[in-house]
């Protein structure tokens, strides 16, 4: 067949690809293998790529030292609520900005986009004061409300708007002739067709919420309220030194849902990126 590579070229290309893969695969490999090594083996030199001694007790300790299952649940339900809420609000807002002609729509959209330019660190103190006034400190409300109405949602709204702009207007006109009102057109025609964009938004939002670190350490103070990124920092010994193997075991457990979500939604995710013209 034309364009088929010779065996030598194939070997060279696969060799090069394998080398390029190292920076991406090595940290994950190091995390997983170190999670089952005794702490002294982690710092052995030269380093062992394959653990010489395997000790799974680190995984048990992850749950003994902290209410890790509870923290796992905290992260999972917060990420789920934030993802669902962001998908709902951003799809409605994106649709409105793309499809409904109202005065100053474009100017308003620009104002909304400005939200992306403000670093979350800048707003954290006023947000803390606001949630303190609302008696929501050491609750999960800030971790749910800030992403749904903050920068991640603005980004999601932008993605959804770009998708809805590209949706043929004739589909909506056909739906109008078929007797549908504005909300039904959104719900039964536009939204089902926006599945790839919604999947991309869902994954981005889930990852953002799952990895959220600054907000939890500011708003939460008791271990049973912690989320996973914050919990990971708590595996220290009496002198404040990190218990690396236990911490890496917890990190491995933390990475699992993200990998599962990505593997399940990989196709939709890539389609979504293609649809929205965004790069990963």
């Amino acid at each position: 067949m034309r364009g088929e590579l010779s065996p030598g070229a194939k070997v060279a290309i696969y060799g090069l690809m394998s080398v390029l893969l190292i920076p991406f695969v090595f940290p994950t490999w190091w995390m997983i293998t170190s999670s089952v090594k005794p702490i002294s083996d982690i710092f052995a030199f030269p380093p062992d790529l394959i653990p010489r001694r395997v000790d799974f007790s680190t995984y048990a300790k992850v749950f003994e030292l902290q209410p890790f299952a509870r923290q796992y649940w905290n992260s999972a339900y917060i990420a789920a609520v934030v993802t669902a809420g962001t998908m709902l609000f951003s799809s409605m807002a994106g649709y409105a900005f793309a499809r409904i002609r109202f005065p100053f729509a474009n100017a308003l959209f620009m104002v909304v986009l400005l939200g992306l330019l403000i670093p979350s660190e800048v707003t954290i103190v006023p947000l803390f004061q606001m949630f303190l006034a609302w008696d929501m400190i050491n609750t999960h409300w800030p971790l749910i409300l800030v992403p749904i109405f903050g920068a991640p949602s603005v980004f999601a709204t932008f993605v959804m708007r770009q998708f809805f702009i590209a949706l043929p207007a004739e589909l909506e006109e056909a739906a109008r002739v078929d007797g549908l009102g504005r909300f039904k057109i959104f719900w039964t025609i536009a939204l089902p067709l926006a599945r790839p964009a919604l999947a991309a938004v869902g994954i981005f939002t889930f990852l953002h919420s799952w990895n959220l670190y600054l907000e939890p350490i500011v708003f939460l103070s008791s271990p049973e309220m912690f989320t996973l990124p914050q919990a990971l920092t708590q595996y220290t010994d009496a002198y404040g030194g990190a218990m690396w193997n236990i911490q890496l075991a917890a990190a491995t457990l933390t990475a699992v849902p993200v990998l599962i979500v990505f593997i399940i939604a990989q196709k939709q995710f890539v389609e979504g990126l293609a649809h929205t013209g965004l790069k990963g």
């Binding site: 043929p168 004739e170 589909l171 006109e173 109008r176 007797g179 025609i189 089902p192 067709l193």
Partner: protein
Amino acid sequence: MASVTLSKLRKSYGRMDVIHGVDVEIADGEFVVLVGPSGCGKSTLLRMIAGLESITGGEVLIGDRVVNDLEPKDRDIAMVFQNYALYPHMTVAANMGFSLEHRGTPKAEIAKRVKWAAEILGLDEMLERYPRQLSGGQRQRVAMGRAIVRDPQVFLFDEPLSNLDAKLRVVMRGEIKSLHQRLKTTTVYVTHDQVEAMTMADKIVVLNGGRVEQIGAPLELYDRPANKFVAGFIGSPAMNFIPGQITASGFAADGALLPLPEAAHDLPPRPMLYGIRPEHFALTSEGLAATVELVEPMGSETQVTMRLGGTPVIGAFRERVRAEPGETIRVRPEIASVHLFDSDSGKRAN
């Protein structure tokens, strides 16, 4: 079924007027084609009937009802779009039954109506397929099916065949026409293709720049165009226009004296356009001398671009013309088919 009346209909976008007071009467059960060049306002007019564009002035009546302020769903119309506008995430059956489902029609009735429409359009085997699994012609049929299951008072077609290849267009043209003959539903059909207009319409409305140029039966427009625009738009290849002046001995053009119909001799001598369709030239041994510039054999006819005096014209002959460029042939215009238009206004003079 119902009549459709457009009365002094106007449409403006800001200060720009695009439809300038259009009056059209469409009888109950009639197949009317709105035709005109791109940007003439034909699709805008159709969308105003559908309720997809607001009306700046005048009235749209469907039956006896003024529908200006009614939503599309309340006008009892069905529309077939240029790009089909099928819902990609629904099967053929779901697409066809969608509006009925939304209106609360019982499921059994929906199934019956979808089956009936699918049988008419030959879609029985495709009801469970998705639009992406269909060819262009099949999608067009589904779009038509979606319209007919509703049994509306009026069908609106917006250039439905323009995305199909030439062969399929001819097939679908016949299907739409026979569907109309079967259902007898009032139909308004928009196209820029004058062949579609001629072959399908009971009545043609020729539009230009947001104004009606002429309304009439296809052959009426072909035989007696009201002005130069209609004469040039209807018919392919287009009518030849030869500038000149009426004289006692005939029509004096640049380097040629053309024969005139008897009645035209009474017209006052003033600058005119002599209109003659390519197919109304005949090859003779003692007609007007014409210098051949290009010969295009089409099989059924031969088109010859030639120079009659100083004016280039096209002739379409049933005979096989074997002349070479530069040669002289002799042609004669059929006097009964000569059209005269005022040079300034473009209006018909004979």
